[in-house]
Symmetry: C2
């Protein structure tokens, strides 16, 4: 559990700055509304400082949290050693106030910057970062939908770490099927409600560093319709508060138990009982009943991007840990001397298969990172353009909507794959707890499940996002790629790569038409059968495009850079961009076309097989 | 940790019997030398009884072993609760004596049967089963290479559980590069040697259920050449024994520490110090120095098949756990009623994406299981034919040799993938320790690493096994598939599937030629870069072929089965064989052709990128 150089958290800040300043340039948006207070230097300083803070403060607690886990002491959650101090340090440093609006004493930073900082926070300690992350997400819901009183009472305290927060959706029988929730809310006549029910898998469901925890609870008011349309969202603080924010008596919210999990052990995943003694009081977020699911979805959307960032962050950390090890660990002779038992041992990064795995990891972490950066870029443009150029803002919003399921699902699937490769790069050392990669792998497995399983993301993509605005989002997306291809297919260095993009582009467009055909011909069952693969191939196209676009920038930058020792690091960085794009085009992108071919077979064996024929048990 | 129905170990014994009696029929070999004592009924009874024993005795200890782990008490390893009794029960039941030769009071069972029983033993508790598995492997080495005295002294005791055994190869700086081992052996003049050195990652390196542990230790005799050619193999018992097997004084073998691992926590992975006090005595296995690596390789070969079986077994257990859960867990309405919030909730096996995952798991566990059965079938034929029809025996031995790396690497990679899918099928429940799949996933990760990483398997395949016997093994392998295609491509029900096999067959043959070209043109570095992918595509071809061959048998069986309630289970089983072959052909097999296309690009970006360009850290 010691922080040796080899298990210290690492991120590639140069890569982050490349995305923020070169590939998705934030600078044109800075220094004016809504980012008046921000310039390039401020952004750059925040990146450097927040990275340093993560390395120093929460990074060393990542293994501690994993080994100690959480426990229940006297009905309260006890978090791992150091978490309480880290919480205080976090809010002193101000990293969680970056995104918040100035009216809540936040810094109103661009989302692009916030997402970059989130990568460091998540990557250095995903279990810890979920506590403030969920508090902030809950605060945003209240800030958006709450009454003035609620905003004044809750938001600032939750954003600045005085109070925690959670989102309470899942029940034992209602997971993906959130509309089956049975937690009930009974009108008390004074505008308040008596809440009763059990919620499970509540991340950060309690803690020992905030004086209060504000739960946002989905519940059904007596007489409300069935399904999601009858759900309302309630503010249910652990400790009751009056309008002056003074803490009162306890609110009949009990931590019934903690889950024992594969990973993210530092985060308390709670079973929460609301109203066991009939004395749990909640109030609606805002004033309307039966709009809970829409309200929750605002938080879910941000949370889904957050989970995608978790994926990118852990993938990045695993890749860099493996890279570090591969440069350090000596094993075997060079392939060129393999018959000579006395040949010098070389660092394993000299071995071709290790290089293949490193390239896989580089491509599968940098691609999704660029995907997140692209989403954040569109989001910042929405804010900058809204009310000024609504058509442009709508385009950007459409891309955000389209990319959310890709960011959530593809990034997290890649994270698990990258962790698997990182372990394999370490060999036996990857399996033991002296090195961080086995924990990265365990932690990352939940990312594909929570905040909507990756299949739910895929269904969101094919069922909602592709047809959204009459297909305009998809058309704009494909149009952007087509334009890049047209502009670069004759490029001296990149033309051959760019032409390959066209193949995958055609494959994705074809599959979109095929999906439409299935909807129109009533072959609905083929849609969920294909959905995950559609999401994957679209993501492969998008990520490889973004890596090629990065390579395009790198080529120009290399031409401008004078040769010499002091530019060597920069040259290496840009060369890496060229190589990773080449690798992705030749080794990952071809899979998209194959997927189109497979989906074209319309194989229904998985639907046709009788349930009892899967196995004789 | 309780054994609820949902975390009870399960295997599909019907499937095992299909492989043993229908697809790779053992019966023609039974009732005559070398399997005089065996008939179909005996085999069948052993399958039923050993499965029952695994479910009852070691299955319930799988989670116990994971949660408790091992510890060191007074210098000895303490194993988890119940392991000691299970050890006694195992040797009373006799499952580990199945394979052993009658001269050691073994039952001389066919390897096909032994492998099937090993699946139950591994699947129900991989961590436990490694203790007797390693003892048996070590015993086989002594039985094969030892002097008469050594055989008399050690083998029977190790096979029947009186003494344990280990294999000690790895050192801190010598993992995959076993030839770098520094553990030394100094001649003492009396035929004995003083052993000195540290070995790490020693599975089952000590235990608390045997009075002695016989370590097989690779060490270098003073003055021996460098590399693997200077390694000798030594018998180093934990407690010294005289020729009458009486236990004497301790032998200066110390358990220095235990590894803390991602999984297989019930197995003690030890750091062993030999000769810290200069008093560790060993004797050569047999009488020759510097042949240790060949001796160890005999054990390694069996152990590699054993690890492949571990992969199949854990994949099978994970698949069946997920299947069970999918039949039981209700969530959401049918796709056909998705807009009706009051529609009845259905078992998740009704949902298309769950079915897709179940089919993936079925194909990726049954394919490798058939691969193991094929290997075992060839192995039994070698034993049956040797000395009678040496040409036929050579063919069978060639197929064994060719299949070992496929069984080891492909099965274990699939196991991790199947476990990932099993977790996803469970959703949130898959991430918590109330269900067994997260442990299956953690346990399975080591399979791709130990007994030679999967890349070492891939290099064994492309560097040794493909060119072996002038390429005859590969030609025979491809010839067998070509014959199956020719015989079935016009089959009414399967013809279309079989034709697809031809595409992958051509792809594999083409890649084999390409490899040859790389060797001949000195483009050696492309070989390791491609090796893992070559192994994967060959395995995809082989497994899909075997699933199609199973479907061919199923079609005939279905025609003969009368309809009716009492044959329904059998009909379902055979229908499952048809569906899984269809699924594999359309969803897995196409990947082989893609891989050939990718390898044809001869992309060298992973080799070209300078080490410092991977990332700016």
């Amino acid at each position: 559990m010691s922080t040796t150089p080899q298990n210290r958290y690492k991120a590639d800040v140069r890569e982050t700055k490349f995305l923020l300043f070169e590939q998705f340039p934030i600078e044109p948006l800075l220094g004016k509304a809504p980012f008046e207070a921000w310039g390039r230097d401020e952004c750059s300083m925040v990146l450097d400082e927040s990275y340093k803070w993560c390395c120093d403060v929460v990074g060393p607690l990542n293994a501690v949290g994993d080994r100690e886990g959480c426990s229940i002491v006297d009905g309260r959650v006890k978090t791992p050693t150091g978490f309480k101090d880290a919480w205080a340090s976090l809010f002193q440093a101000g990293w969680k106030g970056l995104a918040a609006a100035p009216e809540y004493d936040g810094q109103g930073a661009p989302y692009s910057l916030t997402c970059a900082v989130e990568e460091f926070l998540c990557g250095s300690n995903p279990a810890f970062n979920m506590y403030p992350g969920l508090a902030q997400g809950a605060a945003e819901v209240i800030a958006h939908f709450g009454t003035k009183k609620q905003k004044d009472l809750y938001v600032r305290r939750m954003i600045h770490g005085t109070w925690g927060g959670t989102m309470c959706l899942t029940e034992p029988h209602a997971g993906s099927d959130v509309g089956s929730a049975r937690t009930s809310a009974k009108r008390l006549g004074d505008g308040k409600y008596a809440i009763s029910g059990t919620k499970i898998y509540i991340s950060g469901g309690d803690n020992d560093f905030t004086e209060n925890v504000v739960h946002l609870v989905l519940a059904r008011v007596e007489g409300a319709p069935p399904g999601t349309k009858g759900l309302s969202l309630f503010i249910v603080p652990r400790v009751r508060v009056n309008e002056e924010a003074a803490l009162g008596e306890l609110n009949d919210v009990a931590v019934a138990s903690l889950e024992h999990k594969m990973g993210i052990n530092g985060n308390a995943t709670c079973v929460l009982n609301f109203g066991e003694d009939g004395n749990c009081i909640g109030e609606l977020v805002g004033e309307a009943e039966n709009v809970g699911i829409q309200q929750m979805f605002m938080m879910m959307n941000t949370a889904r991007i957050g989970v995608g960032i978790q994926g990118v962050s852990v993938a990045g950390a695993a890749f860099l840990a493996a890279l570090d090890y591969a440069k350090d660990r000596k094993q075997g002779a060079s392939m060129l001397n393999w018959k000579d038992a006395t040949a010098p041992r070389v660092a394993i990064i000299e071995h071709a298969d290790i290089r293949r795995m490193l390239m896989e990891m580089k491509a599968r972490s940098e691609g999704p990172r660029a995907l997140v950066a692209k989403l954040a870029y569109h989001s910042d443009n929405v804010r900058a353009l809204k009310g000024k150029d609504d058509q442009a803002a709508a385009y950007h919003q459409g891309q955000v909507d389209l990319l959310v399921p890709l960011v959530k699902a593809y990034s997290t699937d890649q994270a698990f794959k990258v962790c698997e490769l990182a372990i394999q790069t370490f060999g036996g050392a990857g399996f033991v707890k002296d090195y961080p990669v086995e924990q990265y792998c365990r932690d990352s497995k939940i990312f594909s499940i929570y905040e909507g399983t990756n299949h739910i993301q895929a269904m969101d993509l094919v069922g909602r996002k592709l047809p959204q605005n009459g297909g305009a989002n998809l058309q704009a997306f494909l149009g952007d790629i087509a334009r890049f291809i047209a502009e670069n297919e004759s490029h001296e260095k990149l033309g051959a790569l760019v032409k390959e993009l066209a193949v995958a582009h055609e494959a994705v467009a074809g599959v979109a038409m095929r999906l439409l055909g299935w909807f129109q011909s009533g072959r609905m069952q083929l849609v969920p059968l294909a959905a995950n693969r559609v999401l994957e191939m679209m993501s492969e196209l998008c990520c490889t495009w973004l890596l090629c676009a990065g390579a395009r920038i790198a080529v120009d930058a290399l031409q401008k850079l004078p040769k010499g020792e002091d530019t060597q690091a920069e040259r290496s960085f840009y060369e890496g961009k060229l190589h990773v794009a080449t690798y992705a085009v030749h080794n990952i992108l071809p899979h998209a076309k194959l997927t189109a071919e497979i989906l074209g077979r319309e194989d229904t064996s998985a639907l046709d097989i009788p349930a009892q024929a899967f196995a004789s048990i």
